[in-house]
Symmetry: C2
Subunit: 333 residues, 2 copies
């Protein structure tokens, strides 16, 4: 029998080929007693009835990039959305749409990477789906993950108050620059890799600051500016950040200079921005800095009564940071 | 300003265009206080800690077909996967991958249809995502939904016993024939429509038969034969069904005859097969028949000690029903 090296339409048909793909690759890496049953729904237990539920589709191009791949990203991205809601991420779903002709060894590499990321993030992938479309009807592979977790922090936009402090957990722009360098063949020898990481490992250290943490969000698509604008959307408040306090790697400044883009608009996949009570900010910052994922954390600004998002530059000017119509680079996640 | 009639890459960028698409179309139809917050994760309450969690990606071609569309299917399909686990479906996620250039009015039609289906199925869409890929990198639109619900029936493959009875909730093959007729331009004036429907409205009537219902599954991709094979996979038992008892519309027989395919392998989207205790089968059948979604329900076979799935034909022959390598028609859901 001819060995199959690529994904065929039959792998998505629900017949024996699908069954074999699931048993030989997916169950080989995503090992847990719930997924193994392969029932229509996974049966899960959660200790609380206060839950977070989220979903994201990943269409990143290229699918392999410095420091990661679409499989890892699909796990960390959804884990992070749960973490930003103050939740402990517990269970994930994992659904793939594959283009006919996609190499099975690449598929295996992606599943292996996703399984490793799930282990690192301490979540279980308990259900999934596999669909295949004709060659030319999708671009290699798209992954959609959803996640559920138990909420431990009461974070909500409406808890944001004037004089609250804005903290970012680390350097900005790494993910976007890594992808642009790879996709556009810039050949920058910057060594910049994606910062994709499971932020729940950092946020769980913050559960003890229950009342002081008002809001959290990870600056992915649209970068820091989009998140800051969302934070004040619908309120009468504003945010001002100090340029000199924003952590950023020299190599990222170099790359964004060449590209003519503003790193404040560039996507991150392992950073969080939190809005905290002023009097607790110092302690929260210290706690964040104690963890590898928060070692470059910094206080970058504060919530003000004046509406709008504002940047105070190094030389003292104050400029509005407007949300863009559309981010410059599509398919960044 | 030029009015935009098609989806652009910017609609998936996380900037203002994305925000506008969500506010003007998605929130217009999916109306609930949880989704409206547009946070990274939805905050949901569930009354039980015994939950079902499932996901499916929908890549059906064509996206509009007799009796339905991809939006309705993405809701009912996931609702049904939860229902098959004996759960009350509660909350759904809804994530779209759209091809650049897709008509916004078609997008709106799909969202409207999905919202109507969610209302009918009594579930709330509480989180979602919107991604856009370049023209030619996806086929119109793909939708991935996930769902969570609270488990009320203890259904599991391991509860299936020899002499259990197999019940199907209605006629087979309607969905697959409707899609084939449309896709292949067969021009059959059969009037056959998809049977897509929310099976939770039927299964909730079965909660009172707690101990008597051992297993449920909806025969989607791969049809009745795939589901029957999955039911005995890993056990030493078998299943025999009687051809003359299988409910099927004359028009479906006509169409599958012309196509040269066996309706037992054709996909359904609003039917369930349940495996029940023999002594309760009559009462369960009667209950199912009392509901519009179960009006054509029938006892079609039983679980036997002899391994394999078998068909007893009208004239008395007994033939194995083997699972196919791959279903004949890709992208049926």
């Amino acid at each position: 029998m001819k060995k199959t090296n690529t994904i065929s339409l039959g792998h998505g048909s629900g017949g024996l080929l699908t069954s074999r793909l699931i048993k030989t690759i997916i169950l080989r890496y995503f090992k847990n007693p719930i997924l193994k049953l392969l029932e229509d729904s996974a049966q899960i237990k959660l200790s609380s009835d206060d839950l977070a539920f989220t979903t994201d589709s990943y269409v990143i191009d290229p699918i392999f990039f410095p420091g990661g791949d679409i499989g890892m990203l699909a796990i960390y991205g959804t884990v992070n959305d749960l973490a930003m809601k103050g939740a402990i991420p517990r269970y994930l779903s994992f659904s793939v749409i594959i283009e006919e002709g996609f190499a099975i060894d690449k598929f295996e590499r992606i599943i292996k990477s996703a399984a490793k990321a799930a282990g690192h993030a301490q979540v279980q992938v308990v259900c999934g789906d596999t669909k295949v479309v004709e060659k030319g009807k999708a671009d290699s592979i798209f992954i959609t993950t959803s996640g559920v977790g138990t909420i431990r922090l009461n974070v909500a936009k409406k808890r944001i108050k004037t004089s609250d402090v804005i903290i970012i957990s680390g350097t900005i722009g790494d993910h976007g620059v890594a992808i642009m360098n790879e996709r556009l063949n810039l050949g920058l020898r910057s060594g910049i890799k994606t910062d994709a990481a499971p932020l729940n490992l950092l946020t769980r250290l913050l559960f003890k600051y229950k009342n002081s943490i008002h809001f959290m969000r990870d600056p992915t698509r649209g970068g820091v500016v989009s998140v800051l604008n969302e934070m004040i959307d619908g309120s009468n408040r504003g945010i001002i950040i100090k340029e000199e306090n924003v952590p950023i790697k020299k190599e990222v400044i170099g790359a964004t200079d060449i590209l003519g883009i503003d790193p404040l608009y560039v996507a991150n996949e392992g950073k969080l921005i939190c809005v905290v009570e002023k009097k607790a900010a110092g302690r929260i910052l210290k706690t964040m800095k104690s963890h590898i994922l928060g070692k470059d954390a910094a206080i970058i600004g504060e919530v003000i009564a004046e509406p709008g998002v504002w940047l105070k530059t190094r030389i003292g000017g104050i400029h509005p940071l407007l949300q863009l119509e559309a981010e410059g680079l599509p398919r960044i996640c």
